[in-house]
């Protein structure tokens, strides 16, 4: 494996000194980019885009051609894993993801098994193709949904404002929810290991909905299976350890426990005091975040000022990656993204993380 020209992101994940703060943006390949919308129109659907390695490669690279981002992230969807379990993923425009079949009953949960990774080959093919296209430029992040977040969609059959049926199950039938997240953990560990084998330089687990759970249920149904996944991850084919990022939205009250599950870094949403998180957790994990994506929907002066504020709060010490606190929103002006990236690099070079 030839060394990367820009490994600032990987060094920050290992809490090593870097000449500036690396930056990438959740959902950086997405609907705010006109070229993404063109490729998606050509693909015919979101799912066709995600399932065609050449098109997934194309959209993964698009934001890197516009902005000097320090990492690429695989273009895919967290729900590819339950789709491979046979639940029948489909997307309705304006309504988000849906499943033809749910796993909300004792019978359907008992019948569930981790999928054959061959059915997810299109993902690993995309990882390989993206790596070849990236060459030595920047690292590639692979990812998966957390076992609990996958369970939310599998039980509910789609999105929900509060996933009430899942929270009810966490209290009334913890045995069922445990079985479901345990199957998901086995599947996600295998899935991430295949992405690592195919060339991913780092992997991230997206726990979008863990923050809805009671604290005890978050530990049991979200943190515990994520810990098991992290323990099951293998090194890269050339023996390098693969750094990991764990992001639970809305779980700022439980960061201390999340810092102990074995991830290299924690993602933070915008509600978290990143200066305090640095002070309290910075010796144990790297941190990634946490600008509110809505800032990018304001004006250029505000984008620069708020980006500077996050950089200053997160501090210049090693072990910090700039990102948003959640995915970039459709309608975000390209000039605002450019200003954000430029501000992160400029501001952090003034006082680098040495």
């Amino acid at each position: 494996m030839p060394a990367l020209e820009n490994d600032v992101f990987l060094r920050a994940l290992r809490r090593e000194p870097t000449p500036y703060t690396p930056v990438w943006l959740m959902r950086q390949a997405g609907r705010y980019l006109p070229e993404y919308n063109a490729t998606r129109a050509r693909a015919g659907s979101f799912l066709a885009l995600a399932k065609t390695p050449s098109l997934a490669t194309e959209v993964t690279l698009q934001p890197l051609a516009r902005f000097p981002l320090d990492a690429a992230i695989l273009f895919s969807d967290i729900l590819t894993v339950p789709d491979a379990m046979g639940l029948g993923l489909y997307f309705v425009d304006g309504e988000g993801p849906k499943f033809e079949r749910t796993t909300a009953t004792a019978e359907s949960i008992a019948a569930l098994a981790a999928p054959d990774m061959a059915s997810l080959r299109y993902v690993f093919d995309a990882v390989g193709e993206i790596k070849r296209a990236l060459g030595r430029s920047v690292p590639l992040i692979g990812f998966a949904g957390s076992p609990f977040t996958l369970a939310c969609y599998m039980i509910e059959g789609g999105g929900s404002p509060d996933f009430a049926s899942v929270r009810r199950m966490s209290y009334a039938r913890p045995d069922l929810l445990r079985r479901l997240v345990d199957v998901n953990a086995v599947a996600v560990a295998a899935y991430l290991n295949e992405q690592i084998t195919a060339g991913a330089d780092a992997v991230m687990i997206f726990d979008t909905w863990g923050g809805l759970l009671s604290h005890a249920a978050y530990r049991q149904f979200s943190l515990r299976p994520m810990r098991e996944i992290l323990a099951a991850l293998k090194p890269a084919p050339d023996g390098r350890a693969i750094p990991t990022i764990l992001f639970t939205k809305g779980a700022g009250a439980s960061l201390d426990e999340a810092a102990d599950v074995g991830a290299s870094a924690l993602g933070l949403d915008w509600t978290v005091d990143i200066a305090k998180a640095r002070r309290e957790l910075g010796r144990r994990v790297a941190l990634q975040g946490n600008l509110d994506p809505l800032v990018l929907l304001t004006d250029l002066d505000t984008v620069v000022r708020e980006t500077e504020a996050v950089i200053q709060a997160a501090g210049p010490a090693p072990g910090y990656i700039f990102n948003l606190g959640h995915g970039i929103l459709p309608g975000t002006p390209l000039a605002h993204v450019a200003a954000l990236v430029e501000t992160v690099h400029r501001e952090s070079r003034v006082n680098p993380a040495q």
Copy 2:
């Protein structure tokens, strides 16, 4: 003022020993009660119910006739204050509250003033009437919305899943949002002081939406004005200090700072580790919470088990009031509420907070 027969709730707020853990439930007078629905039907509308002191008194007392709750809470709505500012509050069934006029522009915010408290006389009349009806039985909690939460509805003109326009204003026009929450803070302080004069034994500030803000914005636009309100509150007419409760939903990451704004107690939602909150904050404030209201929509065994778990986590030490982590949900079975209250009293008497 004759002494109350049951002042366990007030003693817990002062972190004094109590023979058992007091319990009341947010939205305990509400749609899960058939007698509430009957009174509301008689009133014709939610707003008529809230604006007629005799009917507000009737529904305030209803849950106390069914369950041995340790406090009553004024039946009203947080949006009475902006309504009195002339925004024209109305309710659409199934859609929640709306305002005829919003305060989203520099002009409308500049024109805003705290209302004459005479226009909220119906609230203070209700407080007086409820106190007379309660006699010496249990204390009465008065309440108001937080300046920021009121601002959310005033800017948006109604509810919203994420109050994006308000968050955008917090970044792009902090001057406007500051002026808005400052006017609200003056209004809420006067409003709570009038409730205290009318007989409220404790007051609570509901900050339903502060948890959507970035950490810096939460401090500036939610915590700061709540601190100013708390500093402006007067003692009761007979000189007693009035204990206060502050509840921000979704701000578990900022409890440490919330504990410093001057409230007697903090309300906690179900995502917070109440055992950890006790250890870290229990010497500075009392705590109230934090059972997920969805637990009441499961089954009797689960209700008892999960209630016991919260009691055990919150510990028997003084300074704890049992409550839900948010308001009781429509459709909650009465037998589940009865079991919850019985379990709190029984379990906490085993090992009282002496």
